[in-house]
Amino acid sequence: MSAEQSPKIVIVDESPIRAAILEEGLREAGFTQIVHISEMQSLLARIYAVDPDIILIDLENPSRDVLEAMFQVSRAVRRPIAMFVDQSDSSSIQASVEAGVSAYIVDGLRKERIKPILDLCVSRFNAFAKLQEELERTKSQLEDRKVIEKAKGILMKVKGLTEDEAYVLLRSTAMREKKKIGEIAQSIITASEMLK
């Protein structure tokens, strides 16, 4: 591979959104040869066919162990090595593991070419995790609101409370039991369903 040519990068990720975010970032950074693999059944065959210089894989993907086998028997492709084999930059390795991405590179690829790719992956993975967290939070807030409304309705009906009184009762119970108001609301709903 000549130094000028863009390295061939394979992204192994079952999450299409994260893979797209990663791919976009890599393209913006000037990497043009990117292949996304989301199908795990024929992973090795696909990788052999692409013959990449760099393989990026999500750490939550059990198929990492499949890739490890390539270190042992690699007749078909150039022998890849784990990013971890070179421990000269342990802080970036730690950062990548914590972000949840792992890289395998083909032996002979220059080190300084890998670092920007890995840094980019780490920041994109972190951004994706944040996005997902926010999404989860919004989702659970919405869910909580629905549950609280329902529990209020039950309290108003069973105990003859006003809406405000029902809410105060929920909130004070939650504080006393050191639980989330949504959890208390959910247990009221569950209990009332059982008592039906």
Binding site: E60, D65, V66, A69, A82, Q94
Partner: protein, 387 residues
């Protein structure tokens, strides 16, 4: 209380002593606060242990040895003060391969030499017919499963690198891969063999205890540097694991142990399936045949928890036999130094037992002698090693 420990594990029944030590309070009783982290791949467990994100881990014994030797990966010396399991694997084959093997079987179907010879005949027939080679799934290049499959088939002259295909598959994918014909057979730990049988898509051909009577499987792995710095924590951890193993092995506690292990954030499968593994009474074929073995999986009984360096030497010999490394006196020494019976005995405050540890009881080849690995390997016809 010391700082909380982070310990990684893979959802398999042989993580039992670790999980029960934490969830049943044996670790807390030793003053340890432990967070168990469920992982999806052996590579993750190894890497997170190596770079210090985990203090300890449930690890394949050969991965611990490979890590100390720097094979396939960065060199990080590992200390294993506790053996999490002896045996526990099984070889499961598809109904089609099972039928083909049974047709060629001439003798006791539980005798691994008989089935290996049957396999050799099936392989020869397929080659003659121009069929694709059989594909066997195993869990990792440095795994007991890899070596056990190879040991078995090579005994009848089947070359695991030439006559069949061996592929790595994550344990949770094994069953699907057998169902969709991606593999014809696999060797894996519990509960996956039982799940394949329950789904009617696999037959358990062998318990690994048919092939090797007593084989180290998973260890409690620590970075050696960390173990040296934290001797008291190591001792507490070992004691907690020993107590958990004793608890699990008491038949009266089996139901409770299985229930603890079955939790969704632990192994996450049916408690009944886990219990079958712990008691060693397994359904081996979809039509409901059960088979019982006193040594299917040893968690704590028969001194299973005490690491035996000879086991480490045997695993090293397999790495040499299959060309993963070359035989050197230093290599043997490094491999054996991973297994630390001294830490185990020290934690329990006792002298080393006078009785020799259980022998492998391999079904083929001469008795294993760690002082003469070369001579041992020379006795086998099939292998990838260079003298």
């Amino acid at each position: 209380m010391t700082a909380p420990l982070r310990i990684g594990f893979i959802p398999l029944v042989d993580a039992a002593a670790l999980i029960v030590a934490v969830d049943k309070g044996f670790a807390a009783a030793e003053g340890l606060e432990v967070e168990l982290v469920r992982e999806v791949s052996w590579s993750n467990v190894r890497d997170k242990l190596n770079i210090g994100l985990f203090d300890a881990a449930h690890l394949l014994a050969p991965v611990a040895i490979a890590s100390s030797l720097g094979l396939g990966h960065v060199k990080v010396p590992i200390a294993a003060p506790f053996n999490l399991g002896i045996n526990g694997n099984a070889i499961t084959v598809s109904p089609a391969l099972h039928a083909a093997l049974m047709e060629e079987t001439d003798g006791d179907r539980f005798d691994p030499l008989v089935t290996a010879k049957a396999l050799a005949r099936v392989v020869a027939k397929r080659r003659k017919a121009g069929a694709d080679p059989l594909t066997f799934g195993m869990t990792f290049p440095f795994s007991t499963h890899n070596y056990q499959l190879r040991f078995w088939m090579a005994a009848a002259g089947v070359d695991p690198d030439e006559d069949v295909r061996l592929v790595v598959l994550p344990p949770p994918y094994m069953v699907d891969s057998l169902a969709n014909g991606h593999v014809d057979a696999f060797c894996v730990g519990a509960p996956w063999n039982s799940i394949a049988v329950d789904l009617g898509i696999g037959h358990i051909l062998h318990f690994v205890s048919d092939i090797l009577a007593h084989a180290a499987e998973k260890v409690l792995a620590l970075r050696q540097v960390w173990a040296d710095k934290n001797p008291d924590v190591v001792a507490s951890l070992v004691r907690a694991a020993v107590k958990a193993a004793e608890f699990i092995e008491d038949p009266e506690n089996r139901t409770e142990a299985a229930r603890i292990l079955a939790q969704p954030d632990r192994i996450g499968v049916d408690a009944e399936v886990i219990q079958r593994t712990l008691t060693g009474r397994l359904k081996i074929s979809p039509d409901g045949i059960f088979r019982e073995s006193g040594s299917y999986l040893l968690v704590g009984r028969e001194e299973a928890g005490r690491p035996d360096p000879v086991q480490a030497a045997w695993l090293y010999a397999q790495m040499v036999r299959w060309g993963q490394t070359t035989l050197t006196p230093d290599g043997v020494k490094t491999a054996m130094a991973v297994f630390r019976p001294d830490l185990y005995d020290g934690a329990l405050g006792r002298r080393p037992p006078t009785q020799a540890p259980a022998a492998f009881g391999a079904f083929a080849g001469p008795a294993f002698d760690p002082a003469n690995i070369r001579g041992h390997l020379e006795a086998f016809e099939v292998g990838r090693w260079k003298a």
